[in-house]
């Protein structure tokens, strides 16, 4: 098994499948496009499974490493490898792609091939981000993910899609341009290498570290997104088609969190420690401020988008408190948020496909007509509110425990999510699902079909399994997180 280039397969299988889907042409061959897309997505997922089974949770360093020259004149390598953190994100990404293809099976009726292709290619590119060990390769994958998402929002999106797509593209592109400058600078300092392991060893004075940190921060904070550079996300979500929202929330936001872990912390550890209070403050603002903003949203997708930002606040908080509970909690929160936000957006999608409205006020009493859906949606709502026994609890719990070790008030502010998270999620649920049938449109609703049930059922199972027994998810993280924390604790300031 070790001989198969599994990581390359995880990247290129979906991309090749995506290109193949494009060749099916117009919507006359829509069925072929769907089938090929599903096969591609499933293969893309299956090749990631041996990564988990073959992963040695006790071993330090990167595994499944592949290294080939790419641009030799600049010493850029096609250099892949994963640790426990990237492993989980790759699995999440590949699985989500399968679900998105199934979810779009019936809903998407125009430009089917292009839609499916965009998601497959995006999936491969994101696997590239999570497995790149060369900074330039990382950057190329990181930036190229923007293109398919831009197209997804711009083509299959809602009425205001052009504004949203442009805002999304410019916001994130401008954020990451500075990080390119920082990488080129580091390349020079490291004596002409883009390899992460070389960059991890370069000594840097504090001022330089701070500047590099800020450059990275711009890129990753926009992606996460952190307050106050989050305003692109609600717009993007509202306009994006359901599948776009799912991938955006479940995977793309994680590129930011992953970037902090893979680049910021090990490359500029002293600056990370130095600026941690700032990042922590911004994270806590995200948890509290955004929680309040989510409460008053009238558009379901916007509400869930704000809830995403609030939950991602736990990721950045966990990362920057620099202890095992915090960082492991942050990674588990990313995975869990992948399941839950995907499910929440799919649930809104289910309603939107039937009613063509995202306004909470247009609903009421849906549970009367869609009992199966109501039960699943309730589970996800509770998971979103961080109920123990669901995955939503695990990451938040660990991060709160970790934050307590650093400062009581950090934990205090973070724990407010217990109240706000429940308030905005359940209040929305109440207004949409409970009550008597609100109008004739609700009265005509049909319960979820097989496709929808399958997708939501898989996510429900994952949410429960991870909530009841998170150790299989966490065990691959321990060594990687310890190694990362060891890196952070070693100062890279040059000796006086």
């Amino acid at each position: 098994m070790q001989e198969l280039p599994l990581l390359s397969l995880a990247i290129w299988a979906p991309i090749i499948a995506g290109v193949a889907v494009l060749f099916t042409g117009g919507d006359r061959n829509a069925h072929a496009a769907r089938v090929i897309a599903l096969i591609g997505a499933v293969i893309g997922f299956l090749v990631t499974l041996p990564l988990y089974t073959g992963f040695d949770a006790q071993a330090a360093g990167f595994q499944f490493v592949r290294r080939m020259p790419w641009i030799e004149s600049f010493n850029v390598w096609y250099h892949l490898g994963i640790d426990g953190i990237s492993l989980l994100l790759i699995l999440l990404n590949s699985l989500t792609t399968v679900l998105v293809v199934i979810a779009g099976w019936q809903v998407i009726q125009t430009r089917v091939a292009q839609y499916m292709a965009a998601f497959l290619i995006l999936s491969g590119l994101m696997n590239g981000v999570f497995s790149a060990l060369d900074a330039m390769l990382f950057y190329v994958f990181f930036e190229s993910t923007l293109i398919p998402m831009f197209i997804i929002i711009g083509v299959w999106g809602g009425p205001n899609r052009v504004y949203a797509a442009t805002k999304f593209f410019l916001y994130t592109l401008l954020g990451s341009l500075l990080s390119l400058v920082a990488l080129i600078y580091l390349y020079n300092v490291a004596g002409g290498s883009f390899a992460f392991i070389d960059l991890y060893e370069v000594p840097l004075p504090l001022l330089i570290q701070v500047i590099v940190f800020i450059a990275f921060f711009m890129a990753f904070a926009v992606k996460v997104p952190m307050w106050p550079v989050h305003t692109w996300l609600p717009d993007a979500h509202v306009e994006a088609p359901t599948g776009g929202s799912v991938v955006l929330a479940a995977i793309m936001l994680k590129l930011g969190g992953y970037g902090f872990l893979r680049l910021s912390l090990p490359i500029v550890p002293d600056a990370s420690l130095y600026l941690a209070p700032v990042v922590i403050t911004l994270s806590l603002i995200a948890v509290v401020y955004i929680g309040l903003v989510a409460l008053v949203q009238t558009d379901m997708k916007k509400l869930i988008a704000y809830s995403s930002i609030s939950h991602m606040g736990f990721v950045t908080l966990g990362i920057f408190i620099f202890n095992a509970q915090g960082v492991e909690g942050a990674v588990l929160q990313m995975i869990s948020h992948g399941f839950i936000s995907a499910a929440m957006f799919l649930c809104v999608g289910v309603l939107y496909d039937r009613m063509h409205s995202r306004q909470i006020a247009d609903y009421g009493g849906v549970a009367n007509k869609m009992p199966v859906f109501a039960a699943l949606f309730m589970l996800f709502a509770m998971a979103n509110a961080g109920l123990p026994g669901t995955s939503g609890f695990v990451g938040e719990f660990l991060v709160i425990l970790g934050a307590m070790k650093v400062n009581f008030w950090y934990a205090f502010a973070a724990a407010i999510t217990l109240i706000f998270g429940a308030a905005y999620t359940l209040w929305m649920y109440k207004r949409v699902m409970f009550g008597a049938v609100a109008n004739d449109h609700v009265a005509e609703l049909q319960d979820i079909n097989g496709c929808e049930c399958l997708v939501l059922g898989v996510l429900a199972a994952l949410v429960l399994v991870m909530g009841v027994w998170p150790e299989p998810f966490a065990e691959v993280l321990h060594v990687s997180v310890n190694e990362l924390l060891a890196h952070v604790s070693l100062s890279k300031l040059p000796l006086q």
């Binding site: 805002k167 916001y171 106050p228 305003t231 692109w232 401020y289 309040l292 903003v293 989510a294 409460l295 008053v296 949203q297 202890n323 095992a324 509970q325 492991e328 909690g329 009421g364 009493g365 549970a367 009367n368 309730m378 509770m382 109920l387 123990p388 026994g389 609890f393 695990v394 719990f397 660990l398 709160i400 425990l401 934050a403 307590m404 070790k405 009581f408 008030w409 934990a411 205090f412 724990a415 407010i416 217990l418 109240i419 706000f420 429940a422 308030a423 359940l426 209040w427 109440k430 699902m433 409970f434 009550g435 008597a436 027994w469 998170p470 150790e471 966490a474 065990e475 321990h478």
Partner: protein
């Protein structure tokens, strides 16, 4: 795994299996199969609990893990069981009351379309509650804690088309979350200082850390144990509905009556009491925390009892009486009388379940009418219900030889002996509360079961008042933004005046009788339960807290306690309370209305529940929405999007338009600019 360990697992898993089968396959298997399978699960659970109980009382205490939930850093989070006298007792109470409620539900919910769902929920609740009490660590405790909150939410909102029900369940969940917020912080502090969440390890290390202080605000240091205990107790205040987090419990009566009995009286609301008793090794180290517990309990016990005296809704009377009784248990905890608190929890579980299920039986007979003004004289129509409710009321009022007498009397006496700051205050309120308790218990009995048969008399002034009030509520609901049909399930009073009420079917009255028996005699166990070494190592009392030890010396058996009580104030207060109720509702039934008019202000304050609901709605719910809107419109839209984001875009546009002027197309403009540029560069190059 030994046979006993398999039994431990069977106790929670049997109801869980029932819940899953009834929940997922309810439609397919039908009603009869759904209740059969869940009740079968409960029977297995009760038998297993009993075997475990017998084994534990034989001295076999178990403390061990089931599986590792998560490892992080050097901390192992385990799911595990601690089976000792305390948890075994709780297991018995939970599984017995739950089984009774399961059986009762067959009758109560017979016509409900959500029949299978209901059985699934109550079994799921039983599973959660058992996991809570059987836990050997804080993590699993929190799991059970939140899980019972979830099921309570689902059950209060069981009739999800009713606006009042879905308002009440959201309120219940959020108020509980406020408590859980404190609870979680307490757990996090425990983990931080003790490095583990395992009870045994934490309690073993408690003494060592009793001198530690923590500085939450610069310059102000508090005892660590005090902070931990108060935070944990905030959780208990949510779950066990202590002032000011009690506001959710009365509204939870919107749920079907069987769950009011099971969850909102007998078991879930006692989770907080159980938790504090379980944490006795921590609480015993902090006088401040005990004092806090005591005062909160005293306020709840007395002031909630007062509200019960003016309510007309039969379930709400019982609900406020539950709040008051929970206050008594909390006071007992504060006085270090943990065994008395658990004993009261134990007896209360039976007599309060009887009162609720009896009220439910009345509600069935009255065709889902809950207003006592429209009842009266029911005793002769439903003698079994009457007898059981009477027993429940006698126990609730604390009259010998009924169960509540022994537990309540012990608590009052313990408060008398207690020395923690605030004990005097608590004792005074507890004694006064006994009078109020006697009054509201018998007000219910006399008003609903004796006197004029108002249900058949639409012209009785009480009925007219009740109808007018109901009409006003309905009109207010119609003005509500929802405009939903309020009369979906429970409120259809279709012409019940036509035929007389009758006794409920056997599935309803058999559980009532089975619960009434321990409501009479459970108190007689006081000798072993409170004064024997029943709880052994599961409860710790600091040697300086001597109240229980002193009382143990003065205890001379059940009869001694009863005869002694005849000479004490609480007994006569309870009798006086019951007597006043008799006077007001039997002898002079026109007097209460007159008194209500004379004491208008006081009655209004009580009917308004001291204004707390209004304040919470206005300040917390309204405040959060206003703040959220302000941050959204002011922060996100105005400042970030309009000024910063679109502002930058406009800035770029403006710069471009300025720069565009430079690109004029005239050669001499470019040449001029080039010359200037070259000059500048030269200057820079040579000046350095």
């Amino acid at each position: 795994m030994t046979a006993m360990q398999k039994l431990y697992l069977l106790v929670p898993l049997a109801p869980l299996a029932g819940a899953i089968i009834a929940g997922l396959f309810g439609k397919a298997i039908g009603r009869r199969a759904a209740h059969t399978v869940t009740i079968l699960g409960m029977v297995v659970c009760l038998v297993a609990s009993f075997l475990v109980y017998r084994d534990v009382m034989g001295g076999n205490i178990f403390n061990g893990p089931v599986y590792t939930w998560l490892v992080s850093g050097n901390i192992r989070f385990e799911i595990g069981f601690l089976i000792d006298p305390l948890s075994a007792t709780m297991m018995m109470v939970v599984s017995f009351v739950s089984l009774m409620v399961h059986i009762y539900t067959i009758g109560y919910m017979a016509d409900d379309p959500g029949y299978q769902r209901f059985f699934s929920y109550i079994s799921l609740f039983t599973f959660s509650m058992l996991m809570l009490v059987m836990s050997n660590n804080f993590l699993q405790l929190f799991f059970g804690w939140e899980a019972v909150g979830l099921v309570s939410y689902l059950l209060i909102g069981f009739w999800y088309t009713r606006p009042t029900a879905i308002y009440a369940n959201l309120k219940a969940f959020l108020v509980n979350r406020v408590g859980d917020f404190g609870f979680l912080l307490g757990i996090a502090l425990v983990l931080m200082y003790f490095g583990t969440l395992d009870y045994a390890a934490v309690f073993a290390g408690a003494d060592r850390l009793s001198g530690n202080t923590i500085e939450l605000f610069p310059g102000v240091s508090w005892s660590l144990i005090t902070v931990i205990c108060i935070l944990l107790f905030i959780g208990a205040m949510g779950k066990s509905a202590q002032f000011p987090l009690h506001v959710w419990l009365p509204d939870s009566m919107e749920g079907p009556t069987p769950i009011s009995a099971l969850i909102h009286a007998a078991t879930m609301v006692t989770a907080g009491i159980f938790m504090v008793a379980r944490m006795s090794p921590l609480f015993e180290l902090s006088e401040t925390a005990l004092s806090f517990v005591l005062v909160i309990g005293a306020i709840t016990a007395f002031f909630m009892a007062l509200i019960a005296t003016v309510q007309y809704d039969i379930k709400r009377v019982v609900a406020y009486s539950t709040l008051s009784q929970l206050g008594y248990m909390t006071m007992a905890l504060g006085a270090s009388a943990y065994s008395a608190a658990i004993f009261h929890l134990f007896t209360h579980a039976f007599f309060k379940a009887v009162l609720f299920l009896g009220a439910g039986s009345v509600i069935i007979a009255m065709h889902h009418q809950q207003d006592m003004r429209k009842m009266g004289g029911l005793a002769k129509y439903m003698p079994i219900t009457y007898m059981t409710v009477l027993i429940g009321a006698l126990a609730n009022a604390g009259l010998p030889p009924f169960a509540g007498f022994f537990s309540k009397e012990t608590i009052v006496e313990a408060l008398h002996h207690a020395t923690v700051p605030g004990a005097g205050f608590a004792y005074a309120l507890a004694v006064a509360g006994v009078f109020v308790g006697g009054f509201y218990s018998f007000r219910l009995v006399f008003y609903a079961f004796h006197g004029k048969e108002r249900f058949a008399d639409p012209h009785h002034p009480d009925v007219i008042a009740a109808d007018a009030e109901a009409a006003a509520v309905a009109a207010a609901a119609a003005h509500d933004d929802h405009k939903h049909d309020d009369h979906a399930h429970d409120d259809h009073d279709h012409g019940h005046d036509s035929h007389a009420p009758h006794e409920s079917p056997a599935v309803v009255w058999v559980p009532l009788v089975l619960l009434a028996i321990p409501s009479v005699c459970a108190g007689w166990l006081i000798g072993t339960f409170v004064y024997g070494n029943y709880f052994g190592s599961s409860i710790t009392v600091h040697p300086a807290h001597t109240a229980m030890a002193t009382m143990a010396q003065g205890f001379h058996g059940v009869f001694g306690m009863m005869t002694h009580a005849l000479g004490t104030l609480p007994f006569w207060l309870a009798v006086a309370g019951a007597g006043s109720a008799w006077f007001l509702y039997i002898v002079k039934p026109e007097l209460p209305a007159k008194l209500r008019r004379q004491w208008g202000v006081v009655v209004t304050i009580l009917m308004e529940k001291y204004g707390l609901d209004r304040f919470n709605d206005w300040f917390f719910a309204g405040g959060a929405r206003a703040l959220g809107t302000g941050l959204w419109k002011g922060g996100d839209i105005a400042v970030i999007d309009n000024v910063m984001v679109n502002g930058s875009a406009r800035l770029v546009g403006w710069v471009a338009s300025v720069v565009r002027q430079v690109q004029s197309g005239y050669i001499y403009h470019y040449a001029f600019a080039m010359i200037i540029g070259v000059l500048l560069l030269l200057t820079l190059a040579y000046s350095g």
